[in-house]
């Protein structure tokens, strides 16, 4: 079997497509921003993204390979083979899968290689990598299965490639990553989430099941139509069906793909006060947070009150959507600065009350948004990154950028005026 597999790999037409697969993988890795370098969960998730494109490409390629074998007319010889049909199919299917997995693995190894010098602890996160592998396997299995049913070198490869792409785009992403779907791909790997073992196993099993189904089902698919086959239990086909059935049940019952991680035993915290504590994986951002902590400490003390500690999302547990922490979005600490600005503003403002009318509410809201924008710029220090556009509604960002260059006294006066608006907003309960 090993010799046959090697021959199939050596002779497959897909060897010409391998450079293109590798190019796509590396372009996806490095074409997207390189924020993931140095953060293992992000690196792992980034290395998984190419599967979004490699999967559909492999589906089309597998369909084309399977159909072209039937087209080459070897059906008769294969029908007279002593080897069981699933071995014959598996040899070819494995060769097709090899090219996809090879390109994907090269990308994953490259991602690991560039991350190692800068990265924190917890070397490599296999969960996302295996998720991408599952996706590639699922798509290849589907493509081969459909390709076996036809001699068409046009319709089925196109349908498989585009069909997989559309399916992934509409249903494929994991819920909680900005879209809703069945969790075959993710766009990012924040340190506070991890891939759960059971759902991942379900996806891997589905991939294996589809491979088994594609190789095992219908030995009669090899035969010319209209002729009956020998009686006997199609064990290989039944095994494939069984595996897929188990995988589907597990898929449905295993729960969501992503789960919140447990609180880290040793979060990384800045030395300066207020402390900013992050996941150990976010080690590379600590120098930046040290500077941000110093900038917070430099804010007008009488005017701005600061919590003692700021936490990255998930570091101290609890639900993630309660605004209790900050997150680092694609290597940018701007959103972290905004979250901290909101916390600072909350701490510096009087307790919330319902305003007496809409006008009062709007007035207060505008003042608060301006304060938050000002605080964000002060904390971030470098101004708004080019990739992040706009800001809170109704706030003149340009004016804020000018403001932070003005003398401290002028800024304090400006902020004091706005806090006055907040304090003096008439409440409905008064």
């Amino acid at each position: 079997m090993w010799w046959i597999y090697r021959t199939e790999v050596r002779r497959s037409a897909l060897r010409w497509a391998l450079p293109a697969f590798v190019a796509v993988d590396l372009l996806v890795l490095f074409g997207r921003s390189r924020h993931w370098i140095g953060v293992w969960p992000e690196a792992s998730a980034a290395a998984q993204i190419p599967a979004f494109y490699l999967g559909p490409a492999l589906a089309g390629a597998a369909a084309w390979s399977a159909a072209s074998r039937r087209r080459s007319g070897v059906v008769e010889q294969l029908a007279a083979a002593a080897k069981s049909s699933w071995r014959v199919e598996l040899a070819q299917l494995s060769a097709t899968l090899t090219y996809g997995v090879l390109a994907y693995t090269l990308g994953a190894l490259t991602a690991a290689g560039v991350t190692v010098p800068e990265a924190g602890p917890e070397f490599w996160w296999p969960g996302y990598i295996l998720l991408g592998l599952a996706l590639i396997t699922i798509c290849t299995g589907v493509g081969h299965l459909l390709g076996r049913t036809t001699k068409s070198l046009f319709a089925v490869p196109v349908i498989c490639a585009l069909g997989c792409l559309v399916f992934l785009g509409v249903f494929g992403f994991a819920p909680g990553t900005g879209s809703s779907g069945i969790g075959l791909a993710v766009l990012s790997g924040y340190p506070y989430t991890t891939v759960s073992a059971l759902p991942l196993t379900a996806r891997l099993l589905l991939g294996i099941g589809l491979i088994a189904l594609a190789a095992g089902v219908g030995s009669h698919l090899r035969s010319a139509s209209g002729r009956p086959g020998w009686p006997g239990l199609p064990l290989a086909g039944l095994s494939g069906v069984g595996l897929v059935a188990i995988a589907v049940v597990l898929f449905v019952t295993a729960g969501p793909l992503l789960a919140q991680r447990e609180v880290p035993a040793d979060p990384l915290c800045t030395h300066s006060k207020p402390q900013i504590c992050v996941w150990p994986e976010s080690q590379k951002f600590v120098p930046e947070f040290e500077a941000m902590s110093a900038r917070i400490a430099a804010l007008p003390p009488g005017l701005i009150k600061s919590p003692d500690v700021f936490y990255e999302d998930g570091v101290r547990g609890g639900p993630l959507d309660m605004g209790r922490g900050f997150y680092i979005f694609e290597g940018q600490t701007w959103d972290a600065a905004t979250s901290m600005a909101i916390r600072l503003n909350e701490a510096s403002s009087p307790p919330y009350c319902d305003p007496v009318d809409e006008a009062a509410n709007d007035h207060r809201l505008k003042a608060q948004l301006e304060l938050i924008s000002w605080l964000t710029v002060r904390i971030a220090g470098n101004g708004q990154p080019a990739a992040i556009h706009g800001g809170p509604p109704g706030v003149d960002q340009k004016a804020i950028r000018v403001l932070v260059t003005r003398p401290e006294a002028e800024q304090v006066a400006w902020a004091t005026a706005r806090y006055k608006v907040v304090r003096e907003t008439p409440c409905a309960s008064e």
Partner: protein
């Protein structure tokens, strides 16, 4: 085979045929549509018969599993065989050895031996798609004989071979030992040169069984043909057609 019935759907192509083969060369003649290829496919266990029984090298073939076991002893060269164009000659024959379950440790030697026998050893690395028609046919023969099968089914094996290559083919068949060869051909000279027994198949039944000499003896004064064997063949066919009328 005992009482073999074979067909497609409701159409019967072979009706109640008995055939016992031993070591030697068995020739099969017949007009187009007589059922020769159907018989070959049945002997090769590609399709189960509609009726009767089939035993290959002591193994009664009743199911997919027993069919696959039987195929280890069968070398089959279809009339229109195909190949993977990107394969080399060696790859092609070695692949067929793998299909026939030739043990891995013997497959390489068996492949090289088969290629030597058909005089393609020096073209082992050539791609199949680069071969001439005759060479492709010889590669096909190599794929059928690789691993020394005990039953060799050759459907029109000499199509595309030049006269010198046909002589080599005959020499190859004669050199095979302990093999039952079933040879279907339109070339009566091949039958005359090679076959111990010959049968004429028409309308799904044998209308003649015997030696080539017996077949030649069936010729009459007004039989058409350029050789005694051809005349005998035409005579047998003619008698069959008159009997049908």
């Amino acid at each position: 085979m005992t009482g073999l019935v074979q067909g497609y759907g409701n159409r019967q192509v072979i009706r109640g045929m008995d055939l016992a083969l031993g070591v030697g060369v068995f020739g099969l003649l017949g007009p187009n549509g007589a059922g020769k290829t159907t018989l070959f496919r049945t002997l090769a266990t590609v399709t189960p018969p509609h009726g009767g029984s089939l035993t290959i090298c002591g193994e009664e073939v009743l199911s997919e599993a027993s069919a696959r076991r039987a195929r280890r002893n069968i070398g089959f060269l279809p009339q229109d065989f195909a190949y993977f164009p990107s394969y080399s000659v060696y790859d092609f024959v070695r692949y067929c050895a793998w299909l026939r379950d030739v043990p891995e440790r013997e497959a390489d030697r068996a492949t090289r031996l088969a290629l030597e026998k058909v005089d393609l050893a020096d073209r082992a690395k050539a791609r199949m798609k680069s071969l001439s028609g005759g060479m492709v046919r010889r590669a096909g023969i190599a794929s059928a004989i690789v691993g020394a099968p005990r039953l060799l089914l050759l459907d029109e094996p000499t199509v595309g071979l030049d006269p010198a290559q046909r002589l080599e083919f005959r020499s190859l068949i004669r050199s095979l030992r302990d093999v039952a060869v079933v040879l279907s051909t339109h070339l009566v000279e091949d039958v005359a040169a090679l076959c111990d027994d010959v049968a004429v198949l028409t309308g799904g039944s044998f209308v003649f069984r015997g030696t080539p000499a017996d077949l030649a003896g069936r010729a009459t004064a007004d039989s058409v043909g350029d050789s005694p064997l051809e005349q005998g063949y035409m005579a047998v066919l003619g008698q069959d057609q008159r009997a049908a009328v």
